[in-house]
């Protein structure tokens, strides 16, 4: 699979402030990739670099084979972006937002936008400021989809929505993925949602990319081992130990297993995605790229 997005040692500083550091990753074309990390790790900065809102100070970023800043006409019409809090012009009517989209975007598909909003019962006469949070998110998504993008970037798209609106938003997003060949990169803290809709996961911490690979493989390859204290050296020779916790009576290891773990000394348990992500975020020295 070819890469839709390639970041190579990408970094961004504001003066002495490091907003993103040493970020190397590839997002395969056609994937739906989750971007996860603590606040301040640089998720939004990375997304802004991808959509050309800001310029790298280190390394390089390439989207669909071109640089968003140096070759904007080759990249920007092909990217859709749903920014955090979906900043829409609140006094505009929904129909006026569509007019704006039509005038600004050469590949605009008006019929698609109208059908999308109609299917979700959002009237064109409504003012954006009067819509519910869920409806505003749907309008922001409709505006991004109607550009007919090849790459869709979403920054915390559903964070402020209630569970029902969130589900409806993700349904709409997945519908867009089925119907067009879309590469999606989406940041969020909502791991349960991400596990549902994404097929790849990138964990970004202040030190760079901690984990990048297919979500199923990541979940399937990690194990929790519980056993007698101080018995972990042998495990570390075969498997990669992500996290170690000791008490006087037992040692608990979270490992990325190298094949099956057969060891009578240890009680072996499956680990949920959330535990895995937390372990990497607490131990940012681990770096694995699947």
């Amino acid at each position: 699979m070819s890469a839709a997005i390639v970041a190579d040692r990408l970094g961004k500083r504001y003066g002495t402030q490091r907003a993103l550091h040493d970020c190397t990753l590839e997002v395969p074309a056609g994937s739906v990739t989750a971007l996860v990390g603590p606040n301040g790790a640089g998720k939004t900065t990375l997304l802004h670099l991808i959509v050309g809102l800001t310029e790298p100070t280190d390394g390089s970023i390439s989207v669909l084979g071109a640089s968003p800043r140096a070759q904007p006409t080759r990249v920007l019409p092909r990217i859709g972006f749903v920014a955090q809090d979906h900043p829409l012009e609140r006094r505009f009517r929904v129909g006026e937002m569509l007019t704006l989209g039509r005038k600004l975007n050469p590949r605009w598909d008006d019929a698609l936008a109208l059908e999308w909003l109609h299917a979700r019962g959002i009237a064109l006469e409504r003012r954006v400021g009067e819509l519910s949070g869920g409806q505003q998110a749907q309008v922001a998504l409709a505006l991004a989809i109607a550009k007919r993008p090849e790459v869709l970037i979403l920054d915390e798209p559903a964070a402020a929505l209630d569970p029902l609106a969130r589900r409806e938003f993700l349904q709409a997003l997945m519908e867009a993925v089925v119907e067009r060949e879309l590469t999606v990169l989406m940041s969020s803290h909502l791991l349960a949602d991400l596990e549902r809709v994404c097929d790849r996961l990138v964990v970004l911490a202040s030190g760079g990319v901690q984990l990048n690979g297919p979500l199923d493989e990541i979940v399937a390859s990690h194990r929790l081992l519980v056993g007698p204290p101080g018995d972990d050296a042998a495990v570390a020779r075969v498997h990669q130990v992500v996290q170690t916790r000791h008490t006087s009576r037992q040692t608990t290891l979270l490992v990325r297993a190298n094949g099956h773990v057969y060891d009578a000394h240890w009680q072996i348990e499956d680990v949920a995605l959330e535990e895995i992500v937390l372990a990497y975020l607490q131990h940012p020295e681990q770096e694995v790229v699947a």
Binding site: Q171, M174, V177, V197
Partner: protein, 129 residues
């Protein structure tokens, strides 16, 4: 037509949950040769999951010869050879002998269940169907 459901807390990957549900429906006769599975679009719309996940599940079932994709039409339950079912009574008798043996060694029912689960896990690896 069957309807898929998801248990987000099960820890079982989504595509495997779909695979298991199809297999279970086949075992119980809810799905029969020639029946159509929901289209990818239908599953995505119903569950809000990644279409690649549905494709992965259907590919897995296809590889196992349980379903077949027909271009432009969808995915259908494949015809199966009527293979002889395993001789359950002999297997059960062997298992009962083993359980008695474990009982004589001092294991109670929970111990035996834990032993069985651990051995199954070791044989099939994680998340055996």
């Amino acid at each position: 037509m069957i309807e898929f459901r998801l248990d987000p807390r099960s820890g079982v990957p989504t595509y495997l949950q779909l695979v298991h549900q199809v297999k279970q429906a086949l075992r119980l006769g809810m799905l029969q040769t020639g029946d159509q599975l929901p289209t990818v679009k239908e599953v995505v719309a119903a569950l809000a999951i990644n279409p690649n996940t549905v494709l992965k599940a259907y590919r897995e079932l296809d590889l196992e010869g349980l379903v077949e994709g027909r271009r432009g039409q969808g995915t259908f339950v494949a015809a199966r050879d009527a293979a002889a079912p395993p001789d359950r009574s002999a297997l059960t008798a062997g298992l009962v002998r083993w359980i008695r043996q474990a009982q004589n060694a001092g294991c109670d029912q929970d111990d035996i269940a834990a032993l069985f689960a651990a051995a199954t896990h070791q044989t099939f690896g994680r998340r055996a169907a």
